[in-house]
Protein backbone atom coordinates (compact mmCIF):
# COMPACT_ATOMS: atom_id res chain seq x y z
CA UNK A 1 0.00 0.00 0.00
CA UNK A 2 1.33 3.44 -0.94
CA UNK A 3 1.74 6.27 1.51
CA UNK A 4 -0.96 8.40 -0.03
CA UNK A 5 -3.54 5.64 0.22
CA UNK A 6 -2.68 5.21 3.86
CA UNK A 7 -3.11 8.94 4.37
CA UNK A 8 -6.58 8.75 2.80
CA UNK A 9 -7.66 6.04 5.17
CA UNK A 10 -6.23 7.97 8.10
CA UNK A 11 -8.11 11.10 7.02
CA UNK A 12 -11.40 9.21 7.25
CA UNK A 13 -10.38 8.29 10.73
CA UNK A 14 -13.09 8.15 13.35
CA UNK A 15 -15.47 9.99 11.04
CA UNK A 16 -17.94 7.74 9.23
CA UNK A 17 -17.67 7.66 5.43
CA UNK A 18 -19.81 10.18 3.51
CA UNK A 19 -22.37 7.62 2.47
CA UNK A 20 -22.85 6.41 6.00
CA UNK A 21 -23.45 9.95 7.26
CA UNK A 22 -25.78 11.08 4.51
CA UNK A 23 -27.58 7.88 3.77
CA UNK A 24 -30.84 8.95 5.33
CA UNK A 25 -30.86 12.25 3.47
CA UNK A 26 -29.96 10.88 0.06
CA UNK A 27 -31.95 7.65 0.05
CA UNK A 28 -35.43 9.19 -0.33
CA UNK A 29 -34.28 11.15 -3.36
CA UNK A 30 -32.77 8.10 -4.98
CA UNK A 31 -36.03 6.25 -4.45
CA UNK A 32 -38.07 9.16 -5.76
CA UNK A 33 -35.95 9.87 -8.81
CA UNK A 34 -37.39 7.38 -11.34
CA UNK A 35 -40.99 8.01 -10.33
CA UNK A 36 -40.64 11.78 -10.37
CA UNK A 37 -38.79 11.69 -13.68
CA UNK A 38 -41.53 9.67 -15.37
CA UNK A 39 -44.26 11.77 -13.85
CA UNK A 40 -42.62 15.05 -14.77
CA UNK A 41 -42.01 14.06 -18.37
CA UNK A 42 -45.45 12.59 -19.04
CA UNK A 43 -47.74 14.55 -16.74
CA UNK A 44 -46.41 17.76 -15.23
CA UNK A 45 -44.45 19.20 -18.15
CA UNK A 46 -47.23 18.44 -20.69
CA UNK A 47 -49.68 20.48 -18.59
CA UNK A 48 -47.50 23.56 -19.08
CA UNK A 49 -46.90 22.69 -22.71
CA UNK A 50 -50.65 22.59 -23.28
CA UNK A 51 -50.93 26.10 -21.86
CA UNK A 52 -48.25 27.18 -24.33
CA UNK A 53 -49.84 25.41 -27.27
CA UNK A 54 -53.18 27.07 -26.48
CA UNK A 55 -51.60 30.36 -27.59
CA UNK A 56 -50.61 28.91 -30.96
CA UNK A 57 -52.22 28.33 -34.29
CA UNK A 58 -50.84 24.89 -35.09
CA UNK A 59 -51.94 21.86 -37.06
CA UNK A 60 -49.59 19.52 -35.22
CA UNK A 61 -47.09 19.24 -38.06
CA UNK A 62 -46.44 22.54 -39.80
CA UNK A 63 -45.45 26.00 -38.71
CA UNK A 64 -46.45 27.15 -35.22
CA UNK A 65 -47.83 30.63 -35.19
CA UNK A 66 -48.20 32.59 -31.98
CA UNK A 67 -51.61 34.19 -31.82
CA UNK A 68 -51.81 35.15 -28.16
CA UNK A 69 -55.31 34.81 -26.81
CA UNK A 70 -56.71 34.24 -30.29
CA UNK A 71 -57.97 30.75 -29.56
CA UNK A 72 -59.69 31.87 -26.38
CA UNK A 73 -61.31 34.80 -28.14
CA UNK A 74 -62.62 32.44 -30.78
CA UNK A 75 -63.94 30.11 -28.07
CA UNK A 76 -66.06 32.93 -26.67
CA UNK A 77 -68.03 32.99 -29.91
CA UNK A 78 -68.13 29.25 -30.45
CA UNK A 79 -71.61 27.88 -30.00
CA UNK A 80 -70.32 24.30 -29.81
CA UNK A 81 -68.14 25.34 -26.89
CA UNK A 82 -71.17 26.56 -24.96
CA UNK A 83 -73.11 23.39 -25.78
CA UNK A 84 -70.20 21.36 -24.43
CA UNK A 85 -69.92 23.50 -21.33
CA UNK A 86 -73.64 23.25 -20.69
CA UNK A 87 -73.49 19.47 -21.10
CA UNK A 88 -70.56 19.32 -18.72
CA UNK A 89 -72.68 21.06 -16.11
CA UNK A 90 -75.57 18.65 -16.72
CA UNK A 91 -73.14 15.75 -16.39
CA UNK A 92 -71.69 17.14 -13.19
CA UNK A 93 -75.10 17.63 -11.60
CA UNK A 94 -76.80 14.42 -12.63
CA UNK A 95 -73.75 12.22 -12.20
CA UNK A 96 -73.85 13.06 -8.51
CA UNK A 97 -77.03 11.01 -8.30
CA UNK A 98 -74.65 8.06 -8.21
CA UNK A 99 -73.78 8.98 -4.63
CA UNK A 100 -77.27 8.64 -3.05
CA UNK A 101 -78.09 5.76 -5.41
CA UNK A 102 -74.93 3.98 -4.30
CA UNK A 103 -75.84 4.57 -0.66
CA UNK A 104 -79.32 3.22 -1.27
CA UNK A 105 -78.08 -0.02 -2.83
CA UNK A 106 -75.43 -0.38 -0.14
CA UNK A 107 -78.10 -0.13 2.56
CA UNK A 108 -80.21 -2.64 0.68
CA UNK A 109 -77.34 -5.12 0.49
CA UNK A 110 -75.95 -4.54 3.98
CA UNK A 111 -77.39 -7.73 5.41
CA UNK A 112 -75.99 -11.07 6.41
CA UNK A 113 -78.17 -13.52 4.53
CA UNK A 114 -76.78 -16.49 2.65
CA UNK A 115 -75.13 -15.65 -0.63
CA UNK A 116 -75.01 -11.92 0.07
CA UNK A 117 -71.32 -11.74 -0.76
CA UNK A 118 -72.02 -13.01 -4.23
CA UNK A 119 -74.83 -10.48 -4.57
CA UNK A 120 -72.53 -7.67 -3.54
CA UNK A 121 -69.91 -8.58 -6.09
CA UNK A 122 -72.47 -9.07 -8.86
CA UNK A 123 -73.88 -5.64 -8.12
CA UNK A 124 -70.38 -4.27 -8.50
CA UNK A 125 -70.00 -5.86 -11.91
CA UNK A 126 -70.79 -2.81 -14.08
CA UNK A 127 -67.80 -0.97 -12.68
CA UNK A 128 -65.36 -3.69 -13.67
CA UNK A 129 -66.21 -3.81 -17.35
CA UNK A 130 -64.96 -1.23 -19.80
CA UNK A 131 -67.05 1.84 -20.55
CA UNK A 132 -66.67 0.89 -24.18
CA UNK A 133 -68.70 -2.24 -23.54
CA UNK A 134 -71.14 -0.34 -21.31
CA UNK A 135 -71.62 2.16 -24.13
CA UNK A 136 -72.30 -0.55 -26.71
CA UNK A 137 -74.74 -2.34 -24.45
CA UNK A 138 -76.68 0.82 -23.68
CA UNK A 139 -76.87 1.90 -27.29
CA UNK A 140 -78.63 -1.39 -28.03
CA UNK A 141 -80.78 -0.91 -24.99
CA UNK A 142 -81.89 2.48 -26.41
CA UNK A 143 -82.25 1.30 -30.00
CA UNK A 144 -85.62 2.53 -31.30
CA UNK A 145 -86.33 -0.56 -33.43
CA UNK A 146 -85.50 -3.39 -31.07
CA UNK A 147 -84.12 -1.83 -27.86
CA UNK A 148 -85.32 -3.22 -24.59
CA UNK A 149 -86.25 0.23 -23.34
CA UNK A 150 -88.69 0.78 -26.18
CA UNK A 151 -90.19 -2.66 -25.72
CA UNK A 152 -90.79 -1.61 -22.16
CA UNK A 153 -92.31 1.83 -22.76
CA UNK A 154 -94.28 0.22 -25.57
CA UNK A 155 -96.16 -1.65 -22.85
CA UNK A 156 -97.54 1.71 -21.76
CA UNK A 157 -98.39 2.65 -25.33
CA UNK A 158 -95.46 5.05 -25.61
CA UNK A 159 -92.59 5.42 -27.99
CA UNK A 160 -90.58 4.44 -29.76
CA UNK A 161 -88.07 7.06 -28.68
CA UNK A 162 -84.70 7.26 -30.40
CA UNK A 163 -82.90 8.37 -27.25
CA UNK A 164 -79.49 8.74 -28.86
CA UNK A 165 -80.83 10.36 -32.02
CA UNK A 166 -82.82 13.04 -30.25
CA UNK A 167 -81.14 16.26 -29.19
CA UNK A 168 -83.46 16.58 -26.23
CA UNK A 169 -82.67 13.21 -24.70
CA UNK A 170 -79.23 12.24 -25.87
CA UNK A 171 -77.12 13.67 -23.04
CA UNK A 172 -79.46 12.30 -20.41
CA UNK A 173 -79.38 8.90 -22.08
CA UNK A 174 -75.60 8.80 -21.99
CA UNK A 175 -75.48 10.01 -18.39
CA UNK A 176 -77.90 7.23 -17.41
CA UNK A 177 -75.46 4.74 -18.93
CA UNK A 178 -72.61 6.37 -17.00
CA UNK A 179 -74.55 6.31 -13.75
CA UNK A 180 -74.75 2.56 -13.93
CA UNK A 181 -71.05 1.80 -13.26
CA UNK A 182 -70.59 4.92 -11.13
CA UNK A 183 -73.40 3.89 -8.78
CA UNK A 184 -71.72 0.52 -8.40
CA UNK A 185 -68.51 2.29 -7.41
CA UNK A 186 -70.24 4.46 -4.80
CA UNK A 187 -72.05 1.38 -3.52
CA UNK A 188 -68.77 -0.38 -2.78
CA UNK A 189 -67.42 2.68 -0.98
CA UNK A 190 -70.53 2.79 1.19
CA UNK A 191 -70.59 -0.95 1.83
CA UNK A 192 -67.08 -0.73 3.20
CA UNK A 193 -68.05 2.36 5.15
CA UNK A 194 -71.04 0.63 6.68
CA UNK A 195 -68.76 -2.14 7.89
CA UNK A 196 -66.92 0.40 9.99
CA UNK A 197 -70.02 2.01 11.53
CA UNK A 198 -69.90 1.68 15.28
CA UNK A 199 -72.55 -0.87 16.37
CA UNK A 200 -72.64 0.50 19.91
CA UNK A 201 -73.72 3.93 18.73
CA UNK A 202 -76.43 2.32 16.65
CA UNK A 203 -77.64 0.34 19.64
CA UNK A 204 -77.57 3.40 21.87
CA UNK A 205 -79.56 5.38 19.31
CA UNK A 206 -82.04 2.53 19.04
CA UNK A 207 -82.60 2.61 22.78
CA UNK A 208 -83.30 6.32 22.39
CA UNK A 209 -85.98 5.41 19.88
CA UNK A 210 -84.19 6.45 16.69
CA UNK A 211 -84.89 4.41 13.59
CA UNK A 212 -85.23 4.52 9.83
CA UNK A 213 -84.47 7.83 8.14
CA UNK A 214 -83.75 9.61 11.42
CA UNK A 215 -81.20 7.02 12.42
CA UNK A 216 -79.64 7.21 8.96
CA UNK A 217 -79.42 10.99 8.97
CA UNK A 218 -78.26 11.65 12.53
CA UNK A 219 -76.26 8.56 13.42
CA UNK A 220 -75.15 6.64 10.34
CA UNK A 221 -74.39 9.32 7.77
CA UNK A 222 -72.05 11.32 10.02
CA UNK A 223 -70.02 8.15 10.46
CA UNK A 224 -70.00 7.60 6.72
CA UNK A 225 -68.48 10.99 6.00
CA UNK A 226 -65.11 9.71 4.75
CA UNK A 227 -66.88 7.39 2.30
CA UNK A 228 -69.19 10.18 1.18
CA UNK A 229 -66.27 12.48 0.59
CA UNK A 230 -64.42 9.98 -1.58
CA UNK A 231 -67.64 9.15 -3.43
CA UNK A 232 -68.09 12.84 -4.27
CA UNK A 233 -64.48 13.21 -5.39
CA UNK A 234 -64.46 10.23 -7.71
CA UNK A 235 -67.89 11.07 -9.11
CA UNK A 236 -67.07 14.70 -9.86
CA UNK A 237 -63.77 13.78 -11.48
CA UNK A 238 -65.53 11.00 -13.40
CA UNK A 239 -68.22 13.37 -14.64
CA UNK A 240 -65.71 15.91 -15.92
CA UNK A 241 -63.57 13.21 -17.51
CA UNK A 242 -66.47 11.57 -19.35
CA UNK A 243 -65.29 10.72 -22.83
CA UNK A 244 -65.55 7.01 -23.57
CA UNK A 245 -69.33 6.76 -23.46
CA UNK A 246 -69.88 9.80 -25.65
CA UNK A 247 -67.32 8.64 -28.15
CA UNK A 248 -68.80 5.14 -28.34
CA UNK A 249 -72.50 5.96 -28.15
CA UNK A 250 -72.91 9.11 -30.26
CA UNK A 251 -69.59 10.59 -31.39
CA UNK A 252 -70.93 13.80 -29.89
CA UNK A 253 -74.02 13.78 -32.07
CA UNK A 254 -76.69 14.33 -33.17
CA UNK A 255 -75.32 17.62 -34.50
CA UNK A 256 -72.88 17.97 -31.65
CA UNK A 257 -75.63 18.07 -29.06
CA UNK A 258 -74.05 15.49 -26.77
CA UNK A 259 -70.52 16.91 -26.82
CA UNK A 260 -68.73 17.72 -23.60
CA UNK A 261 -65.48 19.66 -23.31
CA UNK A 262 -63.31 16.55 -23.17
CA UNK A 263 -64.87 15.20 -26.34
CA UNK A 264 -64.98 18.52 -28.17
CA UNK A 265 -61.31 19.02 -27.46
CA UNK A 266 -60.49 15.65 -28.96
CA UNK A 267 -62.64 16.35 -31.96
CA UNK A 268 -60.97 19.68 -32.63
CA UNK A 269 -57.45 18.28 -32.32
CA UNK A 270 -57.57 14.80 -33.76
CA UNK A 271 -60.44 14.12 -36.07
CA UNK A 272 -61.76 14.78 -39.50
CA UNK A 273 -62.86 18.18 -38.21
CA UNK A 274 -59.24 19.20 -38.49
CA UNK A 275 -56.06 19.17 -36.55
CA UNK A 276 -56.35 22.39 -34.61
CA UNK A 277 -53.95 21.62 -31.77
CA UNK A 278 -53.95 25.17 -30.41
CA UNK A 279 -57.71 25.44 -30.30
CA UNK A 280 -57.97 21.99 -28.75
CA UNK A 281 -55.38 22.90 -26.15
CA UNK A 282 -57.37 26.03 -25.27
CA UNK A 283 -60.45 23.89 -24.61
CA UNK A 284 -58.33 21.51 -22.54
CA UNK A 285 -56.99 24.42 -20.50
CA UNK A 286 -60.53 25.53 -19.66
CA UNK A 287 -61.47 22.00 -18.64
CA UNK A 288 -58.28 21.76 -16.60
CA UNK A 289 -59.06 25.02 -14.77
CA UNK A 290 -62.57 23.82 -13.93
CA UNK A 291 -61.12 20.55 -12.67
CA UNK A 292 -58.44 22.39 -10.67
CA UNK A 293 -61.15 23.96 -8.51
CA UNK A 294 -62.20 20.50 -7.34
CA UNK A 295 -58.66 19.16 -7.13
CA UNK A 296 -57.69 22.10 -4.93
CA UNK A 297 -60.61 21.52 -2.59
CA UNK A 298 -59.55 17.89 -2.35
CA UNK A 299 -55.92 18.76 -1.66
CA UNK A 300 -56.82 21.35 0.98
CA UNK A 301 -58.86 18.73 2.81
CA UNK A 302 -56.01 16.24 2.54
CA UNK A 303 -53.58 18.85 3.86
CA UNK A 304 -55.80 19.49 6.89
CA UNK A 305 -56.10 15.76 7.56
CA UNK A 306 -52.31 15.41 7.39
CA UNK A 307 -51.78 18.26 9.85
CA UNK A 308 -54.66 17.32 12.09
Amino acid sequence: MTDSALADVAALGPKKPWWRRNQQKVTPWLFLAPGILFFLVYVIVPIFQSFQISFLDWDGLGQKEFIGLGNYVELMDDEAFYTSLKNNIIWLTLYLLAVPAGLFIALFLNQTVTGIRLYKSLFFFPFVISQVVVGLVFSWFYDPTFGLMNEFIGLFGLGPIAVLGDERFVTYGIIAAGLWPQTAYCMILYLTGLNAVDPEQIEAARLDGAKGIKMLWYVVLPQLRPATFIAFVVTIIGALRSFDLISIMTQGGPWGSSRVLSFYMYEKSLSEYGFRMGYGAAIAVILFLIMMVFITIFLVKMYRDEKG
Binding site: L32, G35, N110, V113, V134
Partner: protein, 282 residues
Protein backbone atom coordinates in the same frame (compact mmCIF):
# COMPACT_ATOMS: atom_id res chain seq x y z
CA UNK B 1 -75.66 -2.75 12.40
CA UNK B 2 -77.69 -0.52 10.12
CA UNK B 3 -80.23 -1.21 8.73
CA UNK B 4 -81.70 -3.69 11.22
CA UNK B 5 -80.44 -7.23 10.57
CA UNK B 6 -83.00 -9.07 8.54
CA UNK B 7 -83.27 -12.01 10.93
CA UNK B 8 -84.52 -9.64 13.61
CA UNK B 9 -87.41 -8.41 11.51
CA UNK B 10 -90.86 -9.86 10.90
CA UNK B 11 -91.26 -13.06 8.90
CA UNK B 12 -93.14 -11.17 6.16
CA UNK B 13 -90.35 -8.66 5.69
CA UNK B 14 -87.77 -11.44 5.63
CA UNK B 15 -89.62 -13.15 2.81
CA UNK B 16 -90.02 -9.89 0.90
CA UNK B 17 -86.32 -9.24 1.19
CA UNK B 18 -85.42 -12.73 0.02
CA UNK B 19 -87.53 -12.34 -3.11
CA UNK B 20 -86.49 -8.75 -3.80
CA UNK B 21 -82.82 -9.59 -3.76
CA UNK B 22 -82.68 -11.73 -6.94
CA UNK B 23 -85.23 -9.51 -8.69
CA UNK B 24 -83.18 -6.41 -8.01
CA UNK B 25 -80.07 -8.15 -9.25
CA UNK B 26 -81.73 -9.20 -12.50
CA UNK B 27 -82.98 -5.65 -13.09
CA UNK B 28 -79.55 -4.25 -12.29
CA UNK B 29 -77.72 -6.61 -14.64
CA UNK B 30 -80.40 -6.73 -17.30
CA UNK B 31 -78.26 -5.06 -19.99
CA UNK B 32 -75.49 -7.57 -19.40
CA UNK B 33 -77.83 -10.53 -19.27
CA UNK B 34 -79.26 -9.40 -22.58
CA UNK B 35 -75.81 -9.25 -24.14
CA UNK B 36 -74.97 -12.69 -22.79
CA UNK B 37 -78.13 -14.10 -24.37
CA UNK B 38 -77.48 -12.21 -27.61
CA UNK B 39 -74.07 -13.80 -27.84
CA UNK B 40 -75.41 -17.35 -27.96
CA UNK B 41 -78.21 -16.70 -30.44
CA UNK B 42 -77.99 -17.74 -34.08
CA UNK B 43 -78.00 -14.99 -36.71
CA UNK B 44 -81.41 -16.14 -37.91
CA UNK B 45 -83.04 -15.02 -34.67
CA UNK B 46 -82.09 -11.41 -35.32
CA UNK B 47 -83.23 -11.60 -38.91
CA UNK B 48 -86.62 -12.86 -37.82
CA UNK B 49 -86.95 -10.19 -35.14
CA UNK B 50 -86.51 -12.53 -32.19
CA UNK B 51 -84.42 -10.11 -30.14
CA UNK B 52 -85.70 -10.68 -26.65
CA UNK B 53 -87.21 -14.13 -26.85
CA UNK B 54 -85.37 -17.32 -26.04
CA UNK B 55 -82.68 -18.32 -28.56
CA UNK B 56 -84.07 -20.74 -31.13
CA UNK B 57 -80.82 -22.66 -30.77
CA UNK B 58 -77.70 -22.24 -28.68
CA UNK B 59 -74.89 -21.20 -30.98
CA UNK B 60 -72.40 -20.45 -28.26
CA UNK B 61 -69.53 -22.33 -29.84
CA UNK B 62 -70.17 -21.14 -33.39
CA UNK B 63 -70.40 -17.46 -32.45
CA UNK B 64 -67.38 -17.37 -30.21
CA UNK B 65 -65.24 -19.40 -32.60
CA UNK B 66 -66.15 -17.01 -35.37
CA UNK B 67 -64.99 -14.06 -33.28
CA UNK B 68 -61.63 -15.70 -32.88
CA UNK B 69 -61.32 -17.03 -36.40
CA UNK B 70 -62.69 -14.22 -38.53
CA UNK B 71 -61.66 -11.02 -36.78
CA UNK B 72 -58.44 -9.57 -35.39
CA UNK B 73 -59.93 -10.03 -31.91
CA UNK B 74 -57.22 -12.49 -30.72
CA UNK B 75 -54.62 -9.93 -31.77
CA UNK B 76 -56.38 -7.14 -29.83
CA UNK B 77 -56.69 -9.29 -26.74
CA UNK B 78 -53.02 -10.19 -26.92
CA UNK B 79 -52.11 -6.52 -27.36
CA UNK B 80 -54.16 -5.66 -24.30
CA UNK B 81 -52.16 -8.16 -22.27
CA UNK B 82 -48.87 -6.88 -23.63
CA UNK B 83 -49.88 -3.35 -22.68
CA UNK B 84 -51.48 -4.10 -19.34
CA UNK B 85 -49.01 -6.48 -17.73
CA UNK B 86 -45.85 -4.35 -18.19
CA UNK B 87 -47.78 -1.28 -17.04
CA UNK B 88 -48.87 -3.00 -13.85
CA UNK B 89 -45.32 -4.15 -13.12
CA UNK B 90 -43.80 -0.77 -13.95
CA UNK B 91 -46.28 1.41 -12.08
CA UNK B 92 -46.29 -0.80 -8.99
CA UNK B 93 -42.47 -0.96 -8.92
CA UNK B 94 -42.07 2.79 -9.27
CA UNK B 95 -44.69 3.54 -6.67
CA UNK B 96 -43.26 1.09 -4.14
CA UNK B 97 -40.16 3.24 -4.30
CA UNK B 98 -41.87 6.64 -4.25
CA UNK B 99 -44.28 5.46 -1.58
CA UNK B 100 -41.37 4.27 0.55
CA UNK B 101 -39.54 7.58 0.15
CA UNK B 102 -42.60 9.67 0.95
CA UNK B 103 -43.98 7.46 3.70
CA UNK B 104 -40.82 6.76 5.69
CA UNK B 105 -38.59 9.83 5.44
CA UNK B 106 -39.14 13.30 6.77
CA UNK B 107 -37.60 15.88 4.49
CA UNK B 108 -38.38 19.31 3.19
CA UNK B 109 -40.90 19.23 0.37
CA UNK B 110 -42.14 15.75 1.20
CA UNK B 111 -45.79 16.71 1.30
CA UNK B 112 -45.53 18.90 -1.80
CA UNK B 113 -44.07 16.12 -3.88
CA UNK B 114 -46.82 13.88 -2.58
CA UNK B 115 -49.45 16.44 -3.55
CA UNK B 116 -47.88 16.79 -6.98
CA UNK B 117 -48.54 13.10 -7.58
CA UNK B 118 -52.06 13.31 -6.18
CA UNK B 119 -53.03 16.38 -8.19
CA UNK B 120 -51.48 15.04 -11.38
CA UNK B 121 -53.49 11.88 -10.99
CA UNK B 122 -56.75 13.86 -11.19
CA UNK B 123 -56.06 16.12 -14.18
CA UNK B 124 -58.22 15.68 -17.27
CA UNK B 125 -56.47 13.57 -19.90
CA UNK B 126 -57.09 16.22 -22.53
CA UNK B 127 -54.62 18.64 -20.97
CA UNK B 128 -51.90 16.05 -21.61
CA UNK B 129 -53.12 14.83 -24.96
CA UNK B 130 -51.42 17.08 -27.51
CA UNK B 131 -47.96 17.22 -25.85
CA UNK B 132 -47.90 13.51 -24.97
CA UNK B 133 -48.96 12.49 -28.45
CA UNK B 134 -46.38 14.81 -29.91
CA UNK B 135 -43.63 13.44 -27.70
CA UNK B 136 -44.64 9.87 -28.44
CA UNK B 137 -44.40 10.58 -32.17
CA UNK B 138 -40.99 12.20 -31.86
CA UNK B 139 -39.70 9.28 -29.77
CA UNK B 140 -40.81 6.99 -32.58
CA UNK B 141 -43.23 5.28 -30.23
CA UNK B 142 -46.48 6.33 -31.87
CA UNK B 143 -48.66 3.34 -32.71
CA UNK B 144 -46.55 1.00 -30.58
CA UNK B 145 -47.46 -0.86 -27.44
CA UNK B 146 -44.31 0.52 -25.81
CA UNK B 147 -45.56 4.06 -26.30
CA UNK B 148 -48.79 3.28 -24.49
CA UNK B 149 -47.01 1.39 -21.73
CA UNK B 150 -44.63 4.29 -21.08
CA UNK B 151 -47.45 6.76 -20.72
CA UNK B 152 -49.60 4.47 -18.59
CA UNK B 153 -46.74 3.73 -16.21
CA UNK B 154 -46.05 7.42 -15.78
CA UNK B 155 -49.64 8.42 -15.26
CA UNK B 156 -50.57 5.54 -12.96
CA UNK B 157 -47.55 6.31 -10.79
CA UNK B 158 -49.60 9.25 -9.50
CA UNK B 159 -52.43 7.16 -8.14
CA UNK B 160 -50.15 4.33 -7.06
CA UNK B 161 -47.94 6.71 -5.11
CA UNK B 162 -50.95 8.09 -3.25
CA UNK B 163 -51.95 4.56 -2.41
CA UNK B 164 -48.53 3.19 -1.43
CA UNK B 165 -47.51 6.21 0.58
CA UNK B 166 -50.66 6.04 2.70
CA UNK B 167 -50.20 2.32 3.17
CA UNK B 168 -46.56 2.61 4.21
CA UNK B 169 -47.30 5.53 6.50
CA UNK B 170 -49.72 3.32 8.41
CA UNK B 171 -47.10 0.59 8.96
CA UNK B 172 -45.50 0.36 12.41
CA UNK B 173 -42.52 2.70 12.24
CA UNK B 174 -40.72 0.91 15.11
CA UNK B 175 -39.70 -1.88 12.74
CA UNK B 176 -37.76 0.58 10.63
CA UNK B 177 -36.22 2.30 13.65
CA UNK B 178 -35.15 -1.06 15.05
CA UNK B 179 -33.49 -1.97 11.78
CA UNK B 180 -31.68 1.36 11.71
CA UNK B 181 -30.32 0.85 15.20
CA UNK B 182 -28.96 -2.48 14.00
CA UNK B 183 -27.14 -0.55 11.30
CA UNK B 184 -29.06 -1.98 8.37
CA UNK B 185 -28.56 0.00 5.17
CA UNK B 186 -31.59 2.03 4.03
CA UNK B 187 -32.11 0.14 0.77
CA UNK B 188 -31.97 -3.11 2.70
CA UNK B 189 -34.66 -1.77 5.01
CA UNK B 190 -36.76 -1.17 1.92
CA UNK B 191 -36.08 -4.60 0.50
CA UNK B 192 -36.14 -6.80 3.60
CA UNK B 193 -38.36 -4.91 6.05
CA UNK B 194 -40.86 -2.76 4.17
CA UNK B 195 -41.40 -4.61 0.90
CA UNK B 196 -42.56 -7.87 2.52
CA UNK B 197 -45.11 -5.89 4.53
CA UNK B 198 -46.39 -4.28 1.35
CA UNK B 199 -47.58 -7.52 -0.22
CA UNK B 200 -51.30 -6.86 0.37
CA UNK B 201 -50.96 -3.34 -1.04
CA UNK B 202 -49.08 -4.65 -4.06
CA UNK B 203 -51.78 -7.23 -4.69
CA UNK B 204 -54.56 -4.66 -4.34
CA UNK B 205 -52.87 -2.16 -6.62
CA UNK B 206 -52.02 -4.75 -9.24
CA UNK B 207 -55.61 -5.87 -9.69
CA UNK B 208 -56.86 -2.31 -9.72
CA UNK B 209 -54.31 -1.07 -12.24
CA UNK B 210 -54.89 -4.13 -14.38
CA UNK B 211 -58.57 -3.21 -14.64
CA UNK B 212 -57.93 0.49 -15.23
CA UNK B 213 -55.42 -0.11 -18.00
CA UNK B 214 -57.33 -2.94 -19.62
CA UNK B 215 -60.37 -0.69 -19.81
CA UNK B 216 -58.52 2.39 -21.04
CA UNK B 217 -59.96 3.70 -24.27
CA UNK B 218 -58.87 7.30 -24.59
CA UNK B 219 -55.12 6.78 -24.74
CA UNK B 220 -55.50 3.75 -26.94
CA UNK B 221 -57.27 5.94 -29.48
CA UNK B 222 -54.83 8.83 -29.13
CA UNK B 223 -51.57 6.88 -29.21
CA UNK B 224 -52.28 3.88 -31.45
CA UNK B 225 -54.11 2.85 -34.58
CA UNK B 226 -54.68 -0.51 -36.20
CA UNK B 227 -54.57 -4.10 -34.97
CA UNK B 228 -50.79 -4.22 -34.59
CA UNK B 229 -50.78 -2.25 -31.41
CA UNK B 230 -54.35 -1.39 -30.42
CA UNK B 231 -55.83 -2.93 -27.31
CA UNK B 232 -59.23 -4.53 -27.32
CA UNK B 233 -61.15 -1.45 -26.13
CA UNK B 234 -60.09 0.49 -29.21
CA UNK B 235 -60.22 -2.58 -31.41
CA UNK B 236 -63.84 -3.18 -30.66
CA UNK B 237 -64.80 -0.09 -32.67
CA UNK B 238 -63.34 -1.58 -35.83
CA UNK B 239 -64.80 -4.92 -34.82
CA UNK B 240 -68.10 -3.08 -34.73
CA UNK B 241 -67.55 -1.73 -38.20
CA UNK B 242 -66.73 -5.21 -39.46
CA UNK B 243 -69.80 -6.92 -38.05
CA UNK B 244 -72.23 -4.02 -38.36
CA UNK B 245 -75.60 -5.29 -37.26
CA UNK B 246 -74.52 -8.84 -36.49
CA UNK B 247 -75.55 -8.45 -32.87
CA UNK B 248 -74.64 -11.98 -31.87
CA UNK B 249 -71.06 -11.37 -33.02
CA UNK B 250 -70.84 -7.96 -31.42
CA UNK B 251 -72.11 -9.39 -28.17
CA UNK B 252 -69.69 -12.28 -28.21
CA UNK B 253 -66.87 -9.84 -28.96
CA UNK B 254 -67.87 -7.50 -26.13
CA UNK B 255 -68.03 -10.36 -23.68
CA UNK B 256 -64.60 -11.60 -24.65
CA UNK B 257 -63.25 -8.06 -24.24
CA UNK B 258 -64.78 -7.73 -20.80
CA UNK B 259 -63.80 -11.15 -19.51
CA UNK B 260 -60.18 -10.67 -18.32
CA UNK B 261 -60.88 -7.82 -15.87
CA UNK B 262 -64.03 -9.58 -14.69
CA UNK B 263 -62.11 -12.79 -14.08
CA UNK B 264 -59.41 -10.79 -12.31
CA UNK B 265 -62.01 -9.15 -10.11
CA UNK B 266 -63.60 -12.42 -9.08
CA UNK B 267 -60.29 -14.11 -8.38
CA UNK B 268 -58.89 -11.23 -6.37
CA UNK B 269 -62.07 -9.66 -5.06
CA UNK B 270 -60.84 -9.05 -1.55
CA UNK B 271 -57.77 -7.18 -2.79
CA UNK B 272 -59.70 -5.28 -5.41
CA UNK B 273 -62.17 -3.84 -2.95
CA UNK B 274 -59.47 -3.17 -0.38
CA UNK B 275 -57.68 -1.20 -3.06
CA UNK B 276 -60.66 0.86 -4.08
CA UNK B 277 -61.63 1.79 -0.58
CA UNK B 278 -58.24 2.35 0.99
CA UNK B 279 -58.30 5.72 2.60
CA UNK B 280 -62.05 6.02 2.24
CA UNK B 281 -62.68 4.35 5.53
CA UNK B 282 -60.43 4.64 8.51
Amino acid sequence: MFPTPIDKTSRAWQLTYQTMLPLALIMWLLPLIAVAIFSVKPAADFASGNYWGMPSSFDFLANYTRVFAESPMPRYILNSFFITVPTVIGAVALSCMTGFALGVYKFKGNIWIFFLFVAGNFVPFQILMVPVRDMTISLGLYDTKTGLVMFHIAFQTGFCTLFMRNFIKALPHELIEAARVEGVAEWRIFWYVVLPLMKPAIAALSVLIFTFIWNDFFWAVVLTQGPDSQPVTAGITSFNAQFGTAYHMLSAGSIIAALPPVAMFFLMQKHFIAGLTLGAVK
